[in-house]
Amino acid sequence: MTTNTGTPLVEMRDISISFGGIKAVDHVSIDLHPGEVVGLLGHNGAGKSTLIKCLSGAYQKDAGEIYINGEKAEISNPRDARHYNIETIYQTLALADNLDAASNLFLGRELVTAAGFVDDAQMEAETRKIMARLNPNFRKFNVPVSALSGGQRQSVAIARAVYFNAKILIMDEPTAALGPQETQMVAELIQELKRQGLGIFLIEHDIHAVMDLCDRAVVMKNGQRVGTVNVGDVTDDDILGMIIMGKKPAKAY
């Protein structure tokens, strides 16, 4: 994975976005290839989440261009992003707490009967199928997700991203609220999705998780890109140096 030739799955060129005069993202370019996991690192407030929200449609970039499979893409809301098979697992999970797992999984994309009514039974059946694969211990299909544990809620959010045949997956600190076992589950899932040829942007604070899971890492600081490295070529100290001091190692580009 150290050399990526061919058309990138996603290319974000020269993206800028500011809020009230503060440049949250300042001319940043990143790309992502099929079957690749790209880590996004940096301090809180470095602009990682903001950058990625331009891709998921939650924010609108002020300047710059996004290319999907080499073609220019206009993403102005989350619906557009879904249209390009971009799925996002937000740090906050973005679940409606008062709805059950199936309603959350299909939110905005409900299965309907021939008469146009929501098909709750069918959606629950589909939810049971995908949860059996992702989290076989999941049983709480008929309670609001507010009654679920952190890990169970996370698996609902992940199921939502995976179910709809995502090609591009954005994961914003997917393991922040999880115990060791569930973290392991997420790591295995990332490996599996990668084998299936998805491209994954992974926002992550845990440097070890980055070294284990990512092919490349992009480090951001104060809204700017410090550099991009092939994870296999550098040590974790190199990456920490980039995050903390903005020091670019020789092998970065």
Partner: protein, 437 residues
Amino acid sequence: MTKTPLSAPPVTPGHTAVGGNPVKRFLAATEIDTRLLGMLAALLLIWGGFHMYGAIVNGNGAFLTPRNLWNLSVQTSSIGIMATGMVLVIITRNIDLSVGSLIGVTGMTMGILQVDVLPQILGLGHWSIWIITCAVGIALGALIGAFHGWLIAYRGIPSFIVTLGGLMVWRGMAFIANGGKTISPVDSTFALLGGGPGGNVGATGSWIVGALGCAGVVWLLVQGRKQRVKHEFPKRPMWAEVTLGAIGCGAIVGAVLLMNAYPLPVGILRRLDLPEDAFVSHGFAIPVLIMMAVGIAMTILMTRTRFGRYVFAIGGNPEAAALAGINTRWMTLKIFALMGALTGIAAVIASARLNSATNALGTLDELYVIAAAVIGGTSLAGGVGTIYGAILGALVMQSLQSGMVLIGFDAAIQRIVVGMVLVLAVYLDNLYRARTK
């Protein structure tokens, strides 16, 4: 809360087997909403209490009589219809304080239209006057509601402020529309929609409604079971299905018998050229049938359509709803437009019942509507609420009102009691929720 009890199978097989006492087992197997039972119990308590009080203190228990309960059903219609819309507004963390004034302005517009305008064009008593009047009234309500919704969703003004302003503006407009004068009487066909003389469907009509209702109950149970079998979900035991069907049909038949037990008074019999000793049933009043139709339509909307699902999602987590691609602003506008249209329907009933349009029509209704929705279990924190709860809440409010009139409490006491009941009901609901969580 998002699913009808028929499609949601919260009972795992383990549950049914373990559940301790017979009552718990029964509730678990039938999947009856215990909150609904609580409300029904409270309602029966209120009804029984007023009846006993009347019987003991005044020597005349007038509450539990077919006549009073029939009147109660008619009085509940207008508030009940608006309460179903208020559920959506409150679920999405908004409020609508303008519905009472909206009744005033739409009622007044309809009054002018059917008394002053349309007879000039079509001729007095033309068959289409009531249809045009209703259509215009409902459309006007929807339009004003949509305007409120636009200010709230697209201009970022809090709904409390927009509708507080609306409360004053539309009441003033209702006064200006006809210089404060009352318009009366309204079109004779239009007047039937209020449930006044002749505004009821009689014994046969009521039995037809009842039969349709029973067929609906059975159909829902059969469909629900089919779905569960198809997807191999846990099923309700057969005895529970049969019990549910029996309870549902029994309640419907009981309501029909009750409505048919109230005969037309002598004056109306004379007007209809019937012998004075004839027993002719009232049957369901037309406004009650309208309320039932609205209740069913709104329940379908909330539990079976994407629109309803999005209403709940926005209430539960507006940000998540937006990230899921739901156009939350457009939804808000539509919800307020729907609230306005329902207010238009309520205005039809209220002015038809009075047989006149007055600029004070619907004064303070907003408070009763909000109270009905909240007593019916709609959470002001958003995300939770049911249509049937709101209609039951309206019935509770109206029972208190008319019960106190019946036993001779004056207006001051009535307000004190209604106010206290509202606060108490929400407190009890909090306790219930904390316990069942």
